[in-house]
């Protein structure tokens, strides 16, 4: 963790640089300036600051204000990730439990976050995915020693990635996703967000399995050429 220039200004910035999300994030920040807000100066967001700095701040300083900001940004996404799971166990209660599980884990594991391996949103997505998987396994009373964290380990010692490189990759993926044909984006959404396997997507949409596969191949292939 080499990022040392954590400024208070970084707290108000989101990873996506689109004006909409910045607007949202500033908006919600202003609305949530309740009891636990201290004299933090909310400066204008700058491009180099992101949720990663906030996570590092949470890890280093156990900063509850920073955690509150992270919560306000990610909790709705986690809840909707829970709600959109196509499963007999999906319910608003389950989605809220998921928010609790994930955010608690973020708090407890913040020191494990390494900005050189993944962005904050990727790190939080993998936590949400693992918690959601564990939740289903618990609901289905699956009896095993293995937890989702064993099967989907967090990023290990790998690349000589720099955070800049990592950020560039994610930005490229982000742009590429925005340009995907709707039918390819739809298949990816069903797989990642609704939690369907390729064959379940085929069953749900009536598309032949081969078509589902070729859409995934095309979409992911397109992303890979940009990396």
């Amino acid at each position: 963790m080499t990022t040392s220039s954590i400024t208070t200004a970084s707290l108000s910035c989101s990873e996506e640089n689109s004006s909409k999300s910045l607007h949202d994030s500033v908006n919600s920040t202003q609305k949530k300036q309740t009891g636990n807000m201290q004299s933090t100066n909310i400066g204008s967001p700058s491009k180099t600051d992101d949720w990663s700095s906030i996570l590092i701040k949470i890890a280093k300083d156990r900063d509850r204000v920073a955690f509150g900001k992270l919560f306000d940004h990610f909790a709705p996404k986690i809840k909707s990730y829970g709600l959109m799971l196509r499963s007999q166990h999906t319910s608003p209660q389950m989605a809220e439990e998921l928010v609790q599980d994930v955010m608690l884990k973020v708090w407890l594991k913040a020191h494990c976050f390494d900005v050189n391996k993944a962005s904050a949103s990727t790190w939080i997505f993998t936590i949400a995915r693992n918690c959601r998987t564990d939740f289903i396994r618990k609901e289905n009373r699956i009896d095993t020693e293995l937890s989702a964290d064993d099967l989907w380990p967090m990023a290990e010692e790998d690349g000589p990635y720099t955070s800049l490189h990592q950020r560039r990759i994610e930005k490229n993926i982000h742009n590429a996703v925005a340009q995907l044909p709707p039918e390819q984006a739809d298949v990816l959404k069903r797989i990642y967000i609704e939690g369907k396997s390729h064959s379940e997507v085929s069953a749900a949409t009536g598309l032949p399995l081969g078509t589902v596969k070729s859409r995934v191949r095309l979409a992911v292939g397109k992303l890979r050429t940009l990396l």
């Binding site: 959109m84 962005s119 995915r129 293995l146 790998d158 990816l188 939690g195």
Partner: protein
Amino acid sequence: MSHRPDIHWLTDYAAGTLPSSQALCVAVHLSFCPESRKQVEQLNSLGAIMFTNAINDDDNLISESVATELPDEDHASINQELRSKVFDLIDKEDIKQQPSSVTASPCANDASNKADLLPHCLQKLIPDGIDQLDWKKLGTALSVARLSAGDDSREVALHKIKAGGRVSNHDHRGREVTVVLQGSFSDQNGLYLPGDFLVKEAGQEHRPIASEDAECICLSVLEAPVKFTGPITSLINPFLKIKTGTP
């Protein structure tokens, strides 16, 4: 590494939709294969973007003008109660834990702490090492040790072929996923080394032969019983016994 899971396996893995037993095979493969690990990292990033976009898609259903009129709680769909609950939880955790132990709790999986050198994800299932498993002989060349991986509809097991041993010709009534852990074997399609990942679909026959120099140990996950096609081995077909109610 020449035998890797294809993009569909890796996407289902990154999205978390693979059954746990098959995810286990991919995880074992990943512990050997930096190339696949890199691909999974990219697929995780893709997942994160789908994840952060998902809620925006929902927002788009509400027109901009309506959205701004909604109370904040409705719009964000997170109520203050849940927020307080989470803050209570972290307070409790912080009281429970000594400040020093917060930073001391483990992060990455440390695979190098076992003499066995098993991939981390297998260590929990095989805590005492491969030799201590309950191995059952299935003929002269092949032994099997079942693992409990929490998947009732699939057979999860280690298979051991002795050095130079030949496994009877068999086909599959269901898909079989195999990852090589130690040693190597070959079949009509090629040579498989540690970390190699192969999928045999139902109906595909093959006849694995372990390399002469060492025994070969593989993790395999089978969707339905294997059917041995050789003349004698039908007597010792292992998986027919395991699946109760299957003829």
